[in-house]
Chain length 216, copies 2
Protein backbone atom coordinates (compact mmCIF):
# COMPACT_ATOMS: atom_id res chain seq x y z
CA UNK A 1 0.00 0.00 0.00
CA UNK A 2 2.69 2.51 0.92
CA UNK A 3 6.31 2.32 -0.15
CA UNK A 4 9.03 2.87 2.42
CA UNK A 5 10.09 6.35 1.47
CA UNK A 6 9.76 9.20 1.95
CA UNK A 7 7.30 9.22 4.84
CA UNK A 8 8.96 6.69 7.13
CA UNK A 9 12.29 8.07 8.28
CA UNK A 10 15.37 5.89 8.15
CA UNK A 11 15.28 3.58 11.16
CA UNK A 12 17.82 4.30 13.86
CA UNK A 13 17.32 1.88 16.71
CA UNK A 14 17.40 -1.90 16.50
CA UNK A 15 13.68 -1.89 17.20
CA UNK A 16 12.94 0.33 14.21
CA UNK A 17 15.27 -1.71 12.03
CA UNK A 18 13.41 -4.88 13.02
CA UNK A 19 10.06 -3.28 12.24
CA UNK A 20 11.27 -2.12 8.84
CA UNK A 21 12.64 -5.61 8.17
CA UNK A 22 9.23 -6.93 9.23
CA UNK A 23 7.42 -4.70 6.74
CA UNK A 24 9.60 -5.95 3.91
CA UNK A 25 9.59 -9.65 4.82
CA UNK A 26 5.88 -9.93 5.63
CA UNK A 27 5.01 -8.24 2.35
CA UNK A 28 7.23 -10.72 0.51
CA UNK A 29 6.38 -14.00 2.20
CA UNK A 30 3.85 -13.50 4.97
CA UNK A 31 4.26 -13.72 8.74
CA UNK A 32 4.52 -17.46 9.47
CA UNK A 33 7.24 -18.04 6.86
CA UNK A 34 9.24 -15.15 8.31
CA UNK A 35 11.46 -16.49 11.11
CA UNK A 36 13.02 -14.50 13.95
CA UNK A 37 16.39 -15.30 12.39
CA UNK A 38 15.17 -13.90 9.03
CA UNK A 39 14.11 -10.68 10.73
CA UNK A 40 17.41 -10.34 12.60
CA UNK A 41 19.46 -10.94 9.46
CA UNK A 42 17.43 -8.43 7.47
CA UNK A 43 17.68 -5.87 10.28
CA UNK A 44 21.36 -6.51 10.93
CA UNK A 45 20.88 -7.23 14.62
CA UNK A 46 21.06 -10.30 16.85
CA UNK A 47 18.46 -12.48 18.53
CA UNK A 48 19.34 -10.89 21.83
CA UNK A 49 18.35 -7.49 20.50
CA UNK A 50 15.15 -8.94 19.10
CA UNK A 51 14.06 -10.44 22.40
CA UNK A 52 15.11 -7.37 24.31
CA UNK A 53 12.53 -5.31 22.43
CA UNK A 54 9.86 -7.96 21.76
CA UNK A 55 8.67 -10.53 24.26
CA UNK A 56 7.90 -13.02 21.48
CA UNK A 57 7.51 -13.36 17.73
CA UNK A 58 3.79 -12.76 18.23
CA UNK A 59 4.59 -9.51 20.05
CA UNK A 60 6.61 -8.41 17.02
CA UNK A 61 3.54 -9.08 14.88
CA UNK A 62 1.35 -6.91 17.06
CA UNK A 63 3.94 -4.12 17.07
CA UNK A 64 4.29 -4.44 13.30
CA UNK A 65 0.59 -3.84 12.72
CA UNK A 66 0.71 -0.81 15.02
CA UNK A 67 3.80 0.48 13.21
CA UNK A 68 1.98 0.01 9.91
CA UNK A 69 -1.03 1.90 11.27
CA UNK A 70 0.97 4.84 12.45
CA UNK A 71 3.03 5.19 9.31
CA UNK A 72 0.21 4.76 6.81
CA UNK A 73 -2.19 6.84 8.90
CA UNK A 74 0.27 9.68 9.03
CA UNK A 75 0.88 9.45 5.31
CA UNK A 76 -2.80 9.71 4.38
CA UNK A 77 -3.56 12.35 6.99
CA UNK A 78 -1.11 14.68 5.29
CA UNK A 79 -2.04 13.92 1.68
CA UNK A 80 -3.08 16.83 -0.57
CA UNK A 81 -6.49 15.36 -1.44
CA UNK A 82 -7.79 16.89 1.83
CA UNK A 83 -7.61 20.31 0.19
CA UNK A 84 -10.49 19.73 -2.25
CA UNK A 85 -13.54 21.80 -1.38
CA UNK A 86 -16.21 19.25 -2.25
CA UNK A 87 -16.42 16.06 -0.18
CA UNK A 88 -16.82 13.80 -3.22
CA UNK A 89 -13.66 15.28 -4.70
CA UNK A 90 -11.82 14.43 -1.52
CA UNK A 91 -13.06 10.85 -1.70
CA UNK A 92 -12.12 10.51 -5.36
CA UNK A 93 -8.83 12.21 -4.56
CA UNK A 94 -8.12 9.53 -1.98
CA UNK A 95 -8.86 6.80 -4.56
CA UNK A 96 -6.62 8.55 -7.08
CA UNK A 97 -3.84 8.69 -4.53
CA UNK A 98 -4.26 4.96 -3.96
CA UNK A 99 -3.96 4.48 -7.72
CA UNK A 100 -0.80 6.56 -7.83
CA UNK A 101 0.83 4.49 -5.10
CA UNK A 102 0.47 1.25 -7.03
CA UNK A 103 3.72 0.77 -8.93
CA UNK A 104 6.25 -2.03 -9.18
CA UNK A 105 5.83 -5.59 -7.88
CA UNK A 106 3.16 -6.38 -5.25
CA UNK A 107 5.54 -6.49 -2.32
CA UNK A 108 6.20 -2.78 -2.78
CA UNK A 109 2.56 -1.74 -2.48
CA UNK A 110 0.70 -4.45 -0.58
CA UNK A 111 -0.67 -4.07 2.93
CA UNK A 112 1.23 -5.55 5.88
CA UNK A 113 -1.90 -5.65 8.03
CA UNK A 114 -4.04 -7.36 5.39
CA UNK A 115 -1.31 -9.89 4.72
CA UNK A 116 -0.85 -10.81 8.38
CA UNK A 117 -4.59 -10.92 9.04
CA UNK A 118 -5.14 -13.42 6.24
CA UNK A 119 -3.04 -16.14 7.83
CA UNK A 120 -2.99 -15.22 11.53
CA UNK A 121 -6.63 -14.35 12.23
CA UNK A 122 -7.34 -17.61 13.97
CA UNK A 123 -3.96 -18.36 15.54
CA UNK A 124 -3.35 -15.01 17.27
CA UNK A 125 -6.18 -12.88 18.55
CA UNK A 126 -3.68 -10.13 19.42
CA UNK A 127 -2.43 -9.97 15.83
CA UNK A 128 -6.02 -10.16 14.52
CA UNK A 129 -7.06 -7.22 16.69
CA UNK A 130 -4.01 -5.15 15.78
CA UNK A 131 -4.59 -5.76 12.07
CA UNK A 132 -8.27 -4.92 12.43
CA UNK A 133 -7.33 -1.64 14.08
CA UNK A 134 -4.99 -0.85 11.22
CA UNK A 135 -7.38 -1.67 8.39
CA UNK A 136 -10.47 -0.22 10.04
CA UNK A 137 -8.45 2.83 11.09
CA UNK A 138 -7.65 3.48 7.45
CA UNK A 139 -11.30 3.00 6.57
CA UNK A 140 -12.52 5.28 9.37
CA UNK A 141 -10.26 8.10 8.21
CA UNK A 142 -12.38 8.37 5.08
CA UNK A 143 -15.77 8.12 6.72
CA UNK A 144 -16.47 11.81 7.37
CA UNK A 145 -15.74 12.79 3.76
CA UNK A 146 -17.96 9.97 2.51
CA UNK A 147 -20.77 11.01 4.89
CA UNK A 148 -20.55 14.60 3.69
CA UNK A 149 -20.53 13.47 0.06
CA UNK A 150 -23.61 11.32 0.71
CA UNK A 151 -25.44 14.24 2.30
CA UNK A 152 -24.51 16.55 -0.57
CA UNK A 153 -25.50 14.10 -3.29
CA UNK A 154 -28.50 12.59 -1.53
CA UNK A 155 -27.12 9.05 -1.64
CA UNK A 156 -29.14 6.49 0.32
CA UNK A 157 -29.30 2.75 0.67
CA UNK A 158 -25.97 2.39 2.40
CA UNK A 159 -23.84 4.07 5.09
CA UNK A 160 -20.60 6.00 5.09
CA UNK A 161 -19.09 3.34 7.32
CA UNK A 162 -20.08 0.62 4.87
CA UNK A 163 -18.68 2.50 1.90
CA UNK A 164 -15.42 3.23 3.67
CA UNK A 165 -15.04 -0.47 4.51
CA UNK A 166 -15.74 -1.26 0.86
CA UNK A 167 -12.84 0.94 -0.13
CA UNK A 168 -10.57 -1.21 2.03
CA UNK A 169 -12.20 -4.40 0.68
CA UNK A 170 -11.34 -3.53 -2.90
CA UNK A 171 -7.83 -2.40 -1.98
CA UNK A 172 -7.08 -5.66 -0.14
CA UNK A 173 -8.63 -7.74 -2.92
CA UNK A 174 -6.69 -5.79 -5.54
CA UNK A 175 -3.45 -6.73 -3.80
CA UNK A 176 -4.33 -10.42 -3.86
CA UNK A 177 -5.23 -10.44 -7.55
CA UNK A 178 -1.99 -8.54 -8.26
CA UNK A 179 0.01 -11.25 -6.49
CA UNK A 180 -1.23 -13.81 -9.00
CA UNK A 181 0.70 -12.08 -11.79
CA UNK A 182 4.30 -11.84 -12.85
CA UNK A 183 5.97 -8.89 -11.12
CA UNK A 184 5.74 -6.50 -14.09
CA UNK A 185 2.04 -7.15 -14.67
CA UNK A 186 0.94 -6.93 -11.06
CA UNK A 187 0.47 -3.18 -10.74
CA UNK A 188 -1.78 -2.96 -13.81
CA UNK A 189 -4.10 -5.55 -12.33
CA UNK A 190 -4.29 -3.78 -8.99
CA UNK A 191 -4.93 -0.42 -10.67
CA UNK A 192 -7.69 -2.00 -12.75
CA UNK A 193 -9.52 -3.03 -9.58
CA UNK A 194 -9.13 0.42 -8.01
CA UNK A 195 -10.47 1.83 -11.28
CA UNK A 196 -13.67 -0.12 -10.73
CA UNK A 197 -13.86 1.21 -7.20
CA UNK A 198 -13.61 4.75 -8.60
CA UNK A 199 -16.28 4.04 -11.17
CA UNK A 200 -18.59 2.65 -8.48
CA UNK A 201 -18.20 5.90 -6.53
CA UNK A 202 -18.76 7.96 -9.70
CA UNK A 203 -21.97 6.06 -10.44
CA UNK A 204 -23.19 6.17 -6.86
CA UNK A 205 -22.52 9.88 -6.48
CA UNK A 206 -23.26 10.90 -10.07
CA UNK A 207 -19.72 12.24 -10.18
CA UNK A 208 -18.88 11.34 -13.75
CA UNK A 209 -15.39 12.67 -13.76
CA UNK A 210 -13.61 15.97 -13.49
CA UNK A 211 -14.66 17.08 -16.97
CA UNK A 212 -18.34 16.34 -16.51
CA UNK A 213 -18.28 18.07 -13.14
CA UNK A 214 -17.05 21.29 -14.70
CA UNK A 215 -19.79 21.17 -17.35
CA UNK A 216 -22.42 21.17 -14.63
Amino acid sequence: MIPNRPFRPAPRSARDKLLEAGVRLVREQGFAATSVDDLCRAAGVTKGAFFHHFASKEALGVALAAYWSSSTGGFFAEAPYHHHARPIDRVLGYIDLRLALITGPPETFSCVAGTMLQESFRTSDAIRAACEASIMGNAAALEDDIAAAMAEAGVTGTTAASLSRHVQTVIQGAFILAKSQAPDAAADLAREAIGHLRRYFELLFNAGGDEEEKMQ
Copy 2:
Protein backbone atom coordinates in the same frame (compact mmCIF):
# COMPACT_ATOMS: atom_id res chain seq x y z
CA MET B 1 -15.85 -19.56 -0.44
CA ILE B 2 -17.40 -22.99 -0.64
CA PRO B 3 -18.19 -25.22 2.32
CA ASN B 4 -17.19 -28.85 2.18
CA ARG B 5 -20.53 -30.46 1.56
CA PRO B 6 -22.42 -31.46 -0.36
CA PHE B 7 -20.48 -31.04 -3.59
CA ARG B 8 -17.18 -32.56 -2.53
CA PRO B 9 -17.73 -36.25 -1.86
CA ALA B 10 -16.31 -37.80 1.28
CA PRO B 11 -12.62 -38.43 0.69
CA ARG B 12 -11.64 -42.05 0.33
CA SER B 13 -7.97 -42.32 -0.41
CA ALA B 14 -5.17 -40.95 1.73
CA ARG B 15 -4.49 -38.40 -0.99
CA ASP B 16 -8.05 -37.04 -0.87
CA LYS B 17 -7.97 -37.02 2.91
CA LEU B 18 -4.77 -34.96 2.82
CA LEU B 19 -6.28 -32.52 0.36
CA GLU B 20 -9.39 -32.12 2.49
CA ALA B 21 -7.19 -31.59 5.54
CA GLY B 22 -5.28 -29.02 3.49
CA VAL B 23 -8.46 -27.13 2.65
CA ARG B 24 -9.40 -26.90 6.30
CA LEU B 25 -5.96 -26.06 7.70
CA VAL B 26 -4.99 -23.51 5.05
CA ARG B 27 -8.30 -21.73 5.53
CA GLU B 28 -7.67 -21.61 9.28
CA GLN B 29 -4.02 -20.68 9.48
CA GLY B 30 -2.50 -20.32 6.02
CA PHE B 31 -0.01 -22.51 4.20
CA ALA B 32 3.33 -21.79 5.87
CA ALA B 33 1.99 -22.34 9.38
CA THR B 34 0.52 -25.67 8.30
CA SER B 35 3.16 -28.37 8.75
CA VAL B 36 3.29 -31.75 7.05
CA ASP B 37 2.70 -33.29 10.48
CA ASP B 38 -0.40 -31.10 10.93
CA LEU B 39 -1.76 -32.28 7.60
CA CYS B 40 -1.08 -35.94 8.41
CA ARG B 41 -2.71 -35.71 11.82
CA ALA B 42 -5.78 -33.98 10.41
CA ALA B 43 -6.03 -36.51 7.60
CA GLY B 44 -5.38 -39.49 9.86
CA VAL B 45 -2.48 -40.78 7.76
CA THR B 46 1.30 -40.99 8.17
CA LYS B 47 4.23 -39.16 6.66
CA GLY B 48 4.96 -42.16 4.48
CA ALA B 49 1.56 -41.80 2.85
CA PHE B 50 2.07 -38.07 2.46
CA PHE B 51 5.40 -38.42 0.68
CA HIS B 52 4.15 -41.29 -1.39
CA HIS B 53 1.50 -39.04 -2.96
CA PHE B 54 3.32 -35.71 -2.84
CA ALA B 55 6.96 -35.17 -3.69
CA SER B 56 7.20 -32.22 -1.27
CA LYS B 57 5.14 -29.85 0.81
CA GLU B 58 5.22 -27.43 -2.12
CA ALA B 59 3.79 -30.16 -4.36
CA LEU B 60 0.91 -30.52 -1.90
CA GLY B 61 0.29 -26.80 -2.23
CA VAL B 62 0.11 -26.99 -6.00
CA ALA B 63 -2.22 -29.99 -5.82
CA LEU B 64 -4.34 -28.19 -3.25
CA ALA B 65 -4.94 -25.23 -5.55
CA ALA B 66 -5.85 -27.58 -8.40
CA TYR B 67 -8.18 -29.51 -6.07
CA TRP B 68 -9.78 -26.23 -5.07
CA SER B 69 -10.21 -25.25 -8.72
CA SER B 70 -11.90 -28.47 -9.69
CA SER B 71 -14.27 -28.59 -6.75
CA THR B 72 -15.30 -24.93 -6.84
CA GLY B 73 -15.46 -24.88 -10.63
CA GLY B 74 -17.75 -27.88 -10.63
CA PHE B 75 -19.94 -26.34 -7.98
CA PHE B 76 -20.49 -23.08 -9.86
CA ALA B 77 -20.85 -24.80 -13.22
CA GLU B 78 -23.89 -26.65 -11.92
CA ALA B 79 -25.48 -23.80 -9.99
CA PRO B 80 -29.08 -22.86 -10.83
CA TYR B 81 -28.28 -19.22 -11.69
CA HIS B 82 -27.34 -20.43 -15.19
CA HIS B 83 -31.04 -20.95 -15.89
CA HIS B 84 -31.91 -17.22 -16.00
CA ALA B 85 -32.79 -16.08 -19.49
CA ARG B 86 -31.17 -12.64 -19.32
CA PRO B 87 -27.39 -12.39 -19.02
CA ILE B 88 -27.53 -9.70 -16.32
CA ASP B 89 -29.81 -11.92 -14.25
CA ARG B 90 -27.26 -14.72 -14.51
CA VAL B 91 -24.52 -12.38 -13.34
CA LEU B 92 -26.61 -11.08 -10.45
CA GLY B 93 -27.63 -14.66 -9.73
CA TYR B 94 -23.98 -15.59 -9.38
CA ILE B 95 -23.44 -12.70 -6.95
CA ASP B 96 -26.51 -13.76 -4.97
CA LEU B 97 -25.21 -17.30 -4.79
CA ARG B 98 -21.93 -15.92 -3.45
CA LEU B 99 -23.94 -14.05 -0.82
CA ALA B 100 -25.81 -17.18 0.12
CA LEU B 101 -22.60 -19.14 0.63
CA ILE B 102 -21.26 -16.70 3.21
CA THR B 103 -22.29 -18.07 6.58
CA GLY B 104 -20.44 -18.91 9.78
CA PRO B 105 -16.82 -18.01 10.60
CA PRO B 106 -14.40 -17.02 7.83
CA GLU B 107 -12.63 -20.35 7.66
CA THR B 108 -15.85 -21.94 6.41
CA PHE B 109 -16.24 -19.61 3.42
CA SER B 110 -12.80 -18.22 2.58
CA CYS B 111 -10.82 -19.10 -0.52
CA VAL B 112 -7.94 -21.58 -0.28
CA ALA B 113 -6.31 -20.22 -3.44
CA GLY B 114 -6.51 -16.58 -2.35
CA THR B 115 -5.13 -17.46 1.06
CA MET B 116 -2.16 -19.40 -0.29
CA LEU B 117 -1.43 -16.82 -2.98
CA GLN B 118 -1.17 -14.05 -0.39
CA GLU B 119 1.82 -15.56 1.41
CA SER B 120 3.38 -17.84 -1.22
CA PHE B 121 3.37 -15.67 -4.34
CA ARG B 122 7.05 -14.85 -4.11
CA THR B 123 8.40 -18.04 -2.51
CA SER B 124 6.84 -20.61 -4.86
CA ASP B 125 6.16 -19.82 -8.49
CA ALA B 126 4.43 -23.18 -8.86
CA ILE B 127 1.96 -22.34 -6.09
CA ARG B 128 1.49 -18.80 -7.46
CA ALA B 129 0.64 -20.16 -10.90
CA ALA B 130 -1.72 -22.80 -9.53
CA CYS B 131 -3.54 -20.20 -7.43
CA GLU B 132 -3.74 -17.81 -10.38
CA ALA B 133 -5.30 -20.56 -12.45
CA SER B 134 -7.86 -21.19 -9.72
CA ILE B 135 -8.83 -17.56 -9.15
CA MET B 136 -8.75 -16.53 -12.81
CA GLY B 137 -10.59 -19.72 -13.72
CA ASN B 138 -13.41 -18.69 -11.44
CA ALA B 139 -13.36 -15.23 -12.97
CA ALA B 140 -13.29 -16.56 -16.55
CA ALA B 141 -16.36 -18.71 -15.91
CA LEU B 142 -18.40 -15.52 -15.57
CA GLU B 143 -16.98 -13.66 -18.50
CA ASP B 144 -19.38 -14.77 -21.24
CA ASP B 145 -22.43 -13.80 -19.20
CA ILE B 146 -20.88 -10.42 -18.40
CA ALA B 147 -20.02 -9.85 -22.07
CA ALA B 148 -23.58 -10.67 -23.11
CA ALA B 149 -24.98 -8.40 -20.39
CA MET B 150 -22.72 -5.58 -21.58
CA ALA B 151 -23.86 -6.02 -25.16
CA GLU B 152 -27.52 -6.06 -24.10
CA ALA B 153 -27.25 -3.01 -21.86
CA GLY B 154 -24.80 -1.05 -23.98
CA VAL B 155 -22.20 -0.84 -21.22
CA THR B 156 -18.85 0.63 -22.30
CA GLY B 157 -15.74 1.88 -20.68
CA THR B 158 -14.59 -1.47 -19.39
CA THR B 159 -14.34 -5.10 -20.52
CA ALA B 160 -16.03 -8.31 -19.49
CA ALA B 161 -12.66 -9.70 -18.43
CA SER B 162 -12.03 -6.69 -16.24
CA LEU B 163 -15.44 -6.90 -14.61
CA SER B 164 -15.10 -10.61 -13.97
CA ARG B 165 -11.75 -10.04 -12.29
CA HIS B 166 -13.36 -7.31 -10.22
CA VAL B 167 -15.88 -9.83 -8.95
CA GLN B 168 -12.98 -11.94 -7.67
CA THR B 169 -11.26 -8.84 -6.28
CA VAL B 170 -14.23 -7.96 -4.09
CA ILE B 171 -14.76 -11.56 -3.02
CA GLN B 172 -11.13 -11.94 -1.93
CA GLY B 173 -11.15 -8.56 -0.21
CA ALA B 174 -14.42 -9.40 1.52
CA PHE B 175 -12.81 -12.49 3.04
CA ILE B 176 -9.93 -10.46 4.44
CA LEU B 177 -12.16 -7.85 6.03
CA ALA B 178 -14.27 -10.66 7.47
CA LYS B 179 -11.20 -12.19 9.10
CA SER B 180 -10.70 -9.01 11.12
CA GLN B 181 -13.90 -9.67 13.05
CA ALA B 182 -14.99 -12.02 15.80
CA PRO B 183 -16.29 -15.27 14.29
CA ASP B 184 -19.98 -14.40 14.62
CA ALA B 185 -19.62 -10.98 12.99
CA ALA B 186 -17.47 -12.07 10.10
CA ALA B 187 -20.13 -13.20 7.67
CA ASP B 188 -22.08 -9.94 7.93
CA LEU B 189 -19.02 -7.97 6.96
CA ALA B 190 -18.28 -10.21 3.99
CA ARG B 191 -21.91 -10.02 2.81
CA GLU B 192 -21.81 -6.23 3.12
CA ALA B 193 -18.91 -6.08 0.66
CA ILE B 194 -20.61 -8.43 -1.80
CA GLY B 195 -23.69 -6.21 -1.46
CA HIS B 196 -21.62 -3.30 -2.77
CA LEU B 197 -20.44 -5.46 -5.64
CA ARG B 198 -24.06 -6.19 -6.48
CA ARG B 199 -24.95 -2.53 -6.29
CA TYR B 200 -22.06 -1.64 -8.60
CA PHE B 201 -23.38 -4.10 -11.17
CA GLU B 202 -26.92 -2.77 -10.75
CA LEU B 203 -25.71 0.79 -11.34
CA LEU B 204 -23.49 -0.18 -14.25
CA PHE B 205 -26.19 -2.21 -15.97
CA ASN B 206 -29.18 -0.12 -14.86
CA ALA B 207 -30.51 -3.31 -13.32
CA GLY B 208 -32.13 -1.81 -10.24
CA GLY B 209 -33.37 -4.98 -8.71
CA ASP B 210 -35.84 -7.70 -9.49
CA GLU B 211 -38.84 -5.50 -8.72
CA GLU B 212 -37.79 -2.60 -10.94
CA GLU B 213 -37.00 -5.01 -13.74
CA LYS B 214 -40.51 -6.37 -13.72
CA MET B 215 -41.99 -2.86 -13.84
CA GLN B 216 -40.15 -2.15 -17.05
